[in-house]
Symmetry: C2
Subunit: 148 residues, 2 copies
Protein backbone atom coordinates (compact mmCIF):
# COMPACT_ATOMS: atom_id res chain seq x y z
CA UNK A 1 0.00 0.00 0.00
CA UNK A 2 2.85 2.39 -0.36
CA UNK A 3 3.35 4.62 -3.36
CA UNK A 4 6.53 4.13 -5.38
CA UNK A 5 9.09 6.90 -4.94
CA UNK A 6 8.61 7.95 -8.53
CA UNK A 7 4.89 8.46 -8.05
CA UNK A 8 5.61 10.38 -4.87
CA UNK A 9 8.06 12.61 -6.70
CA UNK A 10 5.57 13.08 -9.51
CA UNK A 11 3.08 14.54 -7.07
CA UNK A 12 5.69 16.92 -5.70
CA UNK A 13 6.70 17.93 -9.21
CA UNK A 14 3.15 18.55 -10.36
CA UNK A 15 2.48 20.59 -7.26
CA UNK A 16 5.49 22.75 -7.99
CA UNK A 17 4.32 23.19 -11.58
CA UNK A 18 0.86 24.14 -10.36
CA UNK A 19 2.30 27.01 -8.36
CA UNK A 20 3.70 28.46 -11.59
CA UNK A 21 0.57 28.03 -13.64
CA UNK A 22 -0.48 31.29 -15.28
CA UNK A 23 3.02 32.70 -14.91
CA UNK A 24 5.74 31.83 -17.40
CA UNK A 25 6.61 28.38 -18.65
CA UNK A 26 8.91 26.56 -16.31
CA UNK A 27 11.83 24.36 -17.36
CA UNK A 28 12.47 20.88 -16.01
CA UNK A 29 15.70 22.19 -14.49
CA UNK A 30 13.79 24.87 -12.61
CA UNK A 31 11.39 22.27 -11.26
CA UNK A 32 14.35 20.22 -10.08
CA UNK A 33 15.82 23.22 -8.28
CA UNK A 34 12.58 24.10 -6.55
CA UNK A 35 11.71 20.60 -5.46
CA UNK A 36 15.23 19.51 -4.58
CA UNK A 37 14.89 16.41 -6.76
CA UNK A 38 17.74 15.35 -9.09
CA UNK A 39 17.36 16.88 -12.54
CA UNK A 40 17.52 13.59 -14.53
CA UNK A 41 14.76 12.20 -12.35
CA UNK A 42 12.56 15.20 -13.02
CA UNK A 43 13.20 14.86 -16.73
CA UNK A 44 12.08 11.26 -16.68
CA UNK A 45 8.97 12.25 -14.78
CA UNK A 46 7.93 15.11 -17.04
CA UNK A 47 8.28 12.78 -20.01
CA UNK A 48 5.70 10.44 -18.57
CA UNK A 49 3.49 13.26 -17.35
CA UNK A 50 3.55 14.85 -20.80
CA UNK A 51 2.75 11.54 -22.48
CA UNK A 52 -0.24 11.26 -20.15
CA UNK A 53 -1.42 14.72 -21.22
CA UNK A 54 -1.06 16.22 -17.77
CA UNK A 55 1.74 18.57 -18.76
CA UNK A 56 2.17 20.38 -22.03
CA UNK A 57 5.77 20.80 -23.17
CA UNK A 58 7.20 23.41 -25.54
CA UNK A 59 10.55 22.56 -27.08
CA UNK A 60 13.32 24.81 -28.23
CA UNK A 61 14.90 27.87 -26.69
CA UNK A 62 12.69 29.48 -24.04
CA UNK A 63 10.58 26.36 -24.05
CA UNK A 64 9.31 24.75 -20.91
CA UNK A 65 6.34 23.14 -19.28
CA UNK A 66 2.85 24.19 -18.27
CA UNK A 67 -0.14 22.34 -16.90
CA UNK A 68 -2.25 20.90 -19.70
CA UNK A 69 -5.42 21.53 -17.69
CA UNK A 70 -6.35 23.72 -14.74
CA UNK A 71 -5.08 22.29 -11.46
CA UNK A 72 -8.61 21.70 -10.28
CA UNK A 73 -9.19 19.37 -13.23
CA UNK A 74 -6.18 17.17 -12.46
CA UNK A 75 -6.66 14.50 -9.81
CA UNK A 76 -4.25 12.52 -7.69
CA UNK A 77 -5.45 9.42 -9.51
CA UNK A 78 -4.40 10.96 -12.83
CA UNK A 79 -0.88 11.60 -11.59
CA UNK A 80 -0.42 8.19 -10.03
CA UNK A 81 -1.74 6.37 -13.08
CA UNK A 82 0.53 8.39 -15.35
CA UNK A 83 3.59 7.13 -13.50
CA UNK A 84 2.61 3.73 -12.13
CA UNK A 85 0.11 2.55 -14.69
CA UNK A 86 -3.46 1.54 -13.99
CA UNK A 87 -4.49 1.23 -10.37
CA UNK A 88 -4.73 -2.49 -9.68
CA UNK A 89 -4.29 -3.94 -6.23
CA UNK A 90 -3.77 -7.57 -7.16
CA UNK A 91 -1.61 -8.86 -9.98
CA UNK A 92 -4.51 -10.82 -11.43
CA UNK A 93 -6.80 -7.81 -11.62
CA UNK A 94 -4.24 -6.00 -13.72
CA UNK A 95 -3.97 -8.93 -16.09
CA UNK A 96 -7.73 -9.01 -16.49
CA UNK A 97 -7.56 -5.95 -18.67
CA UNK A 98 -4.11 -6.04 -20.19
CA UNK A 99 -2.88 -9.29 -21.55
CA UNK A 100 -3.16 -12.62 -23.20
CA UNK A 101 -4.91 -14.66 -20.58
CA UNK A 102 -1.85 -16.65 -19.65
CA UNK A 103 -2.16 -17.69 -16.02
CA UNK A 104 0.56 -17.07 -13.45
CA UNK A 105 -1.42 -17.47 -10.26
CA UNK A 106 -1.93 -21.16 -9.63
CA UNK A 107 -5.52 -20.66 -8.60
CA UNK A 108 -6.78 -18.80 -11.64
CA UNK A 109 -10.38 -19.61 -12.46
CA UNK A 110 -10.90 -21.39 -9.16
CA UNK A 111 -9.88 -18.31 -7.20
CA UNK A 112 -12.87 -17.00 -5.31
CA UNK A 113 -11.31 -13.63 -4.53
CA UNK A 114 -10.48 -12.80 -8.11
CA UNK A 115 -13.87 -11.44 -9.22
CA UNK A 116 -13.88 -9.00 -6.32
CA UNK A 117 -10.69 -7.10 -7.13
CA UNK A 118 -12.05 -4.87 -9.89
CA UNK A 119 -14.62 -3.52 -7.46
CA UNK A 120 -11.96 -2.81 -4.86
CA UNK A 121 -9.80 -1.13 -7.48
CA UNK A 122 -12.69 1.09 -8.50
CA UNK A 123 -13.37 2.10 -4.92
CA UNK A 124 -9.74 3.02 -4.41
CA UNK A 125 -9.53 4.95 -7.63
CA UNK A 126 -12.62 6.86 -6.62
CA UNK A 127 -10.98 7.94 -3.41
CA UNK A 128 -7.90 9.19 -5.27
CA UNK A 129 -9.93 10.86 -8.00
CA UNK A 130 -11.57 12.92 -5.27
CA UNK A 131 -8.32 14.71 -4.51
CA UNK A 132 -7.43 17.46 -6.97
CA UNK A 133 -4.06 18.98 -7.65
CA UNK A 134 -5.34 22.35 -6.54
CA UNK A 135 -6.08 20.85 -3.12
CA UNK A 136 -2.57 19.44 -2.89
CA UNK A 137 -1.03 22.74 -3.90
CA UNK A 138 -2.91 24.63 -1.22
CA UNK A 139 -0.74 25.60 1.75
CA UNK A 140 -3.34 24.50 4.29
CA UNK A 141 -4.85 21.02 4.14
CA UNK A 142 -8.45 21.05 3.02
CA UNK A 143 -11.17 18.56 3.76
CA UNK A 144 -11.27 15.68 1.35
CA UNK A 145 -14.72 14.37 0.65
CA UNK A 146 -15.22 10.98 -0.82
CA UNK A 147 -17.52 10.36 -3.69
CA UNK A 148 -19.03 7.28 -5.25
Amino acid sequence: MRLSSMADYAVVTMTAAARHCGHARISAQQLADETGLPAPTVQKLVSKLSAARLLRSVRGAHGGLTLARPAAAISLADIIEAVEGPIAMAACSERLRTDTGRPDCSLESACSVRPHWPLVDAALRGALAGVSLSQLAAPTPTMIEMQA
Copy 2:
Protein backbone atom coordinates in the same frame (compact mmCIF):
# COMPACT_ATOMS: atom_id res chain seq x y z
CA MET B 1 -0.45 1.26 -5.99
CA ARG B 2 -0.05 -2.45 -6.19
CA LEU B 3 -0.44 -4.74 -3.21
CA SER B 4 2.57 -6.82 -2.21
CA SER B 5 2.24 -10.50 -3.01
CA MET B 6 2.19 -11.31 0.67
CA ALA B 7 -0.80 -9.08 1.26
CA ASP B 8 -2.51 -10.57 -1.75
CA TYR B 9 -1.92 -14.08 -0.42
CA ALA B 10 -3.15 -13.01 3.01
CA VAL B 11 -6.48 -12.03 1.52
CA VAL B 12 -6.76 -15.38 -0.22
CA THR B 13 -5.81 -17.20 2.97
CA MET B 14 -8.30 -15.31 5.10
CA THR B 15 -11.01 -15.97 2.56
CA ALA B 16 -10.29 -19.67 2.70
CA ALA B 17 -10.39 -19.58 6.50
CA ALA B 18 -13.70 -17.74 6.39
CA ARG B 19 -15.26 -20.56 4.43
CA HIS B 20 -14.44 -22.91 7.31
CA CYS B 21 -15.65 -20.65 10.06
CA GLY B 22 -18.16 -22.44 12.27
CA HIS B 23 -16.90 -25.82 11.15
CA ALA B 24 -13.78 -27.34 12.73
CA ARG B 25 -10.46 -25.61 13.26
CA ILE B 26 -8.32 -25.67 10.19
CA SER B 27 -4.57 -26.20 10.11
CA ALA B 28 -2.12 -24.03 8.23
CA GLN B 29 -1.31 -27.06 6.06
CA GLN B 30 -4.95 -27.43 5.10
CA LEU B 31 -5.13 -23.77 4.14
CA ALA B 32 -2.07 -24.23 1.97
CA ASP B 33 -3.65 -27.19 0.20
CA GLU B 34 -6.90 -25.37 -0.46
CA THR B 35 -5.34 -22.17 -1.68
CA GLY B 36 -2.48 -23.72 -3.60
CA LEU B 37 0.04 -21.53 -1.79
CA PRO B 38 3.32 -23.00 -0.45
CA ALA B 39 2.92 -24.21 3.12
CA PRO B 40 5.82 -22.21 4.63
CA THR B 41 4.40 -19.05 3.12
CA VAL B 42 1.03 -19.72 4.69
CA GLN B 43 2.72 -20.32 8.04
CA LYS B 44 4.44 -16.98 7.85
CA LEU B 45 1.16 -15.33 7.01
CA VAL B 46 -0.89 -16.90 9.78
CA SER B 47 1.79 -15.80 12.23
CA LYS B 48 1.25 -12.19 11.29
CA LEU B 49 -2.50 -12.54 11.06
CA SER B 50 -2.61 -14.08 14.53
CA ALA B 51 -0.39 -11.37 15.97
CA ALA B 52 -2.84 -8.85 14.53
CA ARG B 53 -5.73 -10.63 16.27
CA LEU B 54 -7.46 -11.57 13.05
CA LEU B 55 -6.91 -15.29 13.50
CA ARG B 56 -6.92 -17.25 16.73
CA SER B 57 -4.48 -20.13 16.85
CA VAL B 58 -4.62 -23.19 19.07
CA ARG B 59 -1.31 -24.95 19.55
CA GLY B 60 -0.58 -28.57 20.23
CA ALA B 61 -2.12 -31.71 18.86
CA HIS B 62 -5.45 -31.14 17.12
CA GLY B 63 -4.73 -27.48 17.12
CA GLY B 64 -5.48 -25.16 14.26
CA LEU B 65 -6.84 -21.79 13.30
CA THR B 66 -10.17 -20.02 13.42
CA LEU B 67 -11.29 -16.49 12.69
CA ALA B 68 -10.95 -14.32 15.76
CA ARG B 69 -14.07 -12.37 14.79
CA PRO B 70 -17.02 -12.96 12.47
CA ALA B 71 -16.08 -12.46 8.83
CA ALA B 72 -18.37 -9.46 8.59
CA ALA B 73 -16.34 -7.73 11.30
CA ILE B 74 -13.01 -8.14 9.49
CA SER B 75 -12.23 -5.61 6.78
CA LEU B 76 -9.83 -5.62 3.88
CA ALA B 77 -8.00 -2.77 5.59
CA ASP B 78 -7.45 -4.97 8.66
CA ILE B 79 -5.87 -7.73 6.58
CA ILE B 80 -3.64 -5.42 4.58
CA GLU B 81 -2.42 -3.55 7.63
CA ALA B 82 -1.68 -6.82 9.41
CA VAL B 83 0.74 -7.82 6.68
CA GLU B 84 2.05 -4.56 5.26
CA GLY B 85 1.89 -2.28 8.24
CA PRO B 86 -0.03 0.97 8.43
CA ILE B 87 -1.50 2.33 5.22
CA ALA B 88 0.72 5.24 4.24
CA MET B 89 1.06 6.37 0.65
CA ALA B 90 4.15 8.51 0.99
CA ALA B 91 7.26 7.63 2.95
CA CYS B 92 7.06 10.86 4.92
CA SER B 93 3.49 10.27 6.03
CA GLU B 94 4.54 6.99 7.57
CA ARG B 95 7.36 8.63 9.43
CA LEU B 96 4.99 11.23 10.80
CA ARG B 97 3.54 8.68 13.17
CA THR B 98 6.34 6.25 13.75
CA ASP B 99 9.73 7.63 14.45
CA THR B 100 12.24 10.07 15.72
CA GLY B 101 11.80 12.98 13.37
CA ARG B 102 15.03 12.37 11.51
CA PRO B 103 14.60 13.70 7.98
CA ASP B 104 15.29 11.62 4.89
CA CYS B 105 13.41 13.64 2.31
CA SER B 106 15.47 16.65 1.39
CA LEU B 107 12.45 18.93 1.41
CA GLU B 108 11.10 18.14 4.85
CA SER B 109 9.45 21.08 6.49
CA ALA B 110 9.45 23.10 3.30
CA CYS B 111 7.49 20.40 1.47
CA SER B 112 4.07 21.73 0.65
CA VAL B 113 2.58 18.34 -0.16
CA ARG B 114 3.52 16.77 3.13
CA PRO B 115 0.63 18.00 5.27
CA HIS B 116 -1.86 16.59 2.78
CA TRP B 117 -0.80 12.94 2.89
CA PRO B 118 -2.51 11.97 6.15
CA LEU B 119 -5.82 13.04 4.67
CA VAL B 120 -5.23 10.99 1.55
CA ASP B 121 -4.23 8.00 3.65
CA ALA B 122 -7.42 8.29 5.66
CA ALA B 123 -9.55 8.43 2.53
CA LEU B 124 -7.87 5.33 1.17
CA ARG B 125 -8.18 3.45 4.40
CA GLY B 126 -11.85 4.31 4.51
CA ALA B 127 -12.37 2.77 1.11
CA LEU B 128 -10.64 -0.44 2.19
CA ALA B 129 -12.42 -0.54 5.53
CA GLY B 130 -15.69 -0.59 3.61
CA VAL B 131 -14.93 -4.03 2.20
CA SER B 132 -15.57 -6.88 4.62
CA LEU B 133 -14.15 -10.37 4.54
CA SER B 134 -17.64 -11.77 4.19
CA GLN B 135 -18.05 -9.80 0.97
CA LEU B 136 -14.78 -11.19 -0.37
CA ALA B 137 -15.75 -14.73 0.54
CA ALA B 138 -19.05 -14.47 -1.31
CA PRO B 139 -19.05 -16.33 -4.62
CA THR B 140 -20.75 -13.48 -6.47
CA PRO B 141 -19.32 -9.95 -6.30
CA THR B 142 -21.46 -7.64 -4.24
CA MET B 143 -21.78 -3.90 -4.49
CA ILE B 144 -19.21 -2.02 -2.51
CA GLU B 145 -20.44 1.19 -1.02
CA MET B 146 -18.02 3.81 0.15
CA GLN B 147 -18.33 5.48 3.47
CA ALA B 148 -16.77 8.50 5.06
